[in-house]
């Protein structure tokens, strides 16, 4: 039994083929797995390891470094409230407290119904909309308490399903095609380019020498 659906396995193979070294596809494959399953399961890591020709522990070891890769289940909506300095000046810490009250969970926890996981996040480059929050990496702000309540309502009642896919789905646009030019051809082309450049420079030097 394979973890990836046939469609995603196709995408995975395109990804693996994009790099001079397959291992570079590790993070893209982890995102693909999370898109399919909501988080990064053991089965997914085993299969990613196989695709990359490395050990599952290496996938785990790398994935555990990154905040966005979740080896444990998270809610359908991962709500990240930014409290970094620009948002803090705009009331980010207070917004986080409010979020915690409204959802009934402390940062880091998931609601019993599996709908929401709350996180305190660092700057998400949306500082002109302070205080702001991200839901599954889609941005909202500036958020007064009442705006936050409305956002949670909209998410609960699926009114935002177009803009905010379930957790794990990151980019919904995939690469159309594999890499087009084999590296051997590129390398030959570059050798020729470099030779031509050397010849031009030599000619220039000779010109300059002649004029002196």
């Amino acid at each position: 039994m394979s973890f990836f659906t046939p469609e995603n396995l196709g995408k995975a193979q395109v990804l693996v083929g994009l790099y001079p070294d397959k291992r570079s596809a590790l993070i893209p494959l982890c995102h693909l797995a999370q898109g399919q399953h909501g988080h990064l399961s053991n089965e997914a890591m085993v299969e990613i390891a196989e695709l990359l020709g490395i050990q599952p522990a290496e996938v785990m070891g790398t994935a555990s470094f990154y905040d966005m890769l979740h080896t444990e289940e998270v809610g359908k909506y991962l709500v990240g409230v930014c409290t970094n300095v620009a948002c803090m000046l705009g009331g980010g810490l207070e917004l986080l407290e409010h979020a915690s009250d409204v959802l009934g969970i402390p940062p880091g926890a998931t609601t019993d119904d599996g709908m929401f996981t709350l996180e305190e996040v660092e700057c998400v480059a949306h500082c002109d909309k302070a205080p702001c929050a991200q839901v599954n990496y889609r941005y909202f702000g500036p958020l007064a308490d009442s705006d936050f309540d409305r956002l949670v309502d909209d998410l609960r009642s699926d009114r935002l399903s177009e803009t905010v896919p379930p957790h794990g789905v990151l980019s919904r646009v995939f690469r159309d095609a594999p890499a087009m030019v084999p590296l051997e051809i590129i390398h030959q082309e570059r050798r020729d380019m470099d030779e031509a450049k050397k010849a031009r420079l030599a000619a220039q030097n000779q010109d300059a020498g002649g004029k002196q």
Binding site: P20, D21, L89, G91, D128
Partner: protein
């Protein structure tokens, strides 16, 4: 109207589509470049004098000249943008991804890259969608792939998502991450990826905004770019203004043409502060930069001008703190950020950031003693001995030595505010 280079199409409907880009002359710079020799393209970038827009401010043309001429070499675009309060690349990748793609392809041609990668911060879901869509469109249009526009030049361009780690913005950590590993900065030397970079091959790493300027430079000539600004500060910069101002946002300005005061108060830009408030401090260049006070508001927004004042223009972000906001709380929050994002390889950075965060929090909450102030400075001094600017480096990368910047600035500028927290056992500000 001042010249707009990288944001010329921001605000145009569907600015991110190929059709819009082509209506505005898109990809004509790539065609022009491919008709030139790579050296000629490089010479235009040299003539522009453009400094890299990622933070360190290294001249782009000079960096390219350092690229070791092995047959296999790579181009990596740094779109990891996670320096707190920096949100300029976020705008560029969402609103004008084709400009980025075109600049990347021109650069790849100029340096003879075997393959080009755009590494984008993982949290930029919409940015990832927009850039991937732009790459797909560019392939279909013949701007990337085999024999581009019939020129005989071929290359593949790959979009790489990050996965949430500030440190991956540091260029050697970014390369590790792109190799499918944990984002640990590499030990220097080698100092430059231009010698040993991706997969051990010579690699140019340039920022998204740096790349986004390239099509304009090729279209208008490096000299026209150099005619904007003053001294080493050529061209425009995209300033990300945030914090206690009425109109936070991205403003593209000719370098040195405006002062901090104008950017903050001009109704066209920051629009000033809330009624009755005044500027207490400004953090230029991202949270790694030392703060500047109201006495420096008339400094022009230029690389050397800000450096002479003892800080840096860095990533071009500017945070305003007004007199109703607490300096201790701001400095504490910045340390907390560094503590969370330290990759943990170096003791001064890993342990030091934790200690400073704890002590600063204690001060903010009102449970500190006067000796804590000296203690915090002592820990800072252990991370960046001498507390000079630019700092002494005791660690693998410059995240470590950046940690003391805010804390030391805040204590220098607002020592009395720290003392009030300690004496009155709490924060005097309402929040």
């Amino acid at each position: 109207m001042s010249t707009k280079i990288v944001t010329a199409r921001v605000g145009v409907p569907d600015s991110y589509l190929l059709s819009t880009y082509l209506e505005h002359g898109g990809y004509s710079s790539l065609k022009k470049a491919l008709a030139m020799t790579p050296e000629e393209v490089h010479a235009e970038v040299n003539a522009s004098g453009m400094l890299g827009r990622g933070g360190a401010g290294f001249e782009a043309g000079r960096k390219w000249a350092m690229l070791k001429q092995d047959v296999v070499r790579y181009l990596v675009v740094n779109g990891d943008e996670s320096e707190p309060s920096t949100f300029k690349d976020h705008l560029l990748v969402e609103q004008d991804p084709h400009q980025l793609v075109e600049g990347t392809l021109i650069t790849a041609y100029a340096i003879g890259a075997s393959r080009a990668f755009i590494y984008l911060r993982g949290e930029f879901a919409l940015g990832l969608e927009r850039v991937q869509a732009a790459i797909n469109e560019a392939y279909a249009y013949g701007a990337v792939g085999r024999n581009i526009f019939g020129s005989g030049f071929s290359i593949d361009l790959v979009l790489q998502p990050g996965a949430g780690a500030y440190i991956c913005g540091e260029e050697t950590a970014l390369i590790e991450s792109l190799e499918g590993k944990r984002g640990f900065p590499r030990i220097k030397p080698p100092y430059f990826p231009a010698v040993i970079g991706l997969y051990g091959a010579p690699t140019i790493v340039n920022n998204v905004e740096t790349m986004s300027n390239i099509p304009w430079i090729i279209a208008n000539g490096g000299k026209s770019f150099a005619a904007l600004g003053k001294g080493r500060s050529t061209g425009t910069r995209l300033f990300a203004l945030s914090g206690d101002v009425l109109r936070p946002g991205n403003y593209e300005l000719e370098m040195t043409s405006k002062t901090f005061r104008e950017l903050i108060f001009d109704p066209e830009f920051g629009g000033g502060l809330r009624d009755g408030r005044s500027v207490k401090a400004v953090i230029p260049g991202g949270v790694s930069a030392p703060w500047i006070g109201p006495d420096n508001l008339d400094l022009p927004l230029g690389q050397d001008e800000v450096a002479q004042a003892g800080s840096m223009l860095g990533s071009g972000s500017i945070i305003v703190i007004d007199d109703h906001s607490c300096a201790v709380r701001a400095a504490w929050r910045i340390t907390k950020f560094f503590n969370r994002e330290s990759c943990g390889q170096c003791t001064p950075c890993r342990e030091g950031s934790g200690w400073i965060e704890k002590i600063m929090h204690r001060i903010e909450l009102g449970s500190a003693t006067e000796s804590d102030l000296d203690l915090v400075l002592d820990v800072c001094d252990n991370i960046a001995p001498g507390l000079t600017w630019p700092p002494q480096q005791t660690t693998i990368c410059v995240l470590g030595p950046s940690i003391p910047s805010s804390v030391v600035s805040a204590i220098k500028m607002f020592r009395d505010e720290f003392m009030i927290h300690i004496k009155e056992e709490g924060c005097p500000f309402v929040h």
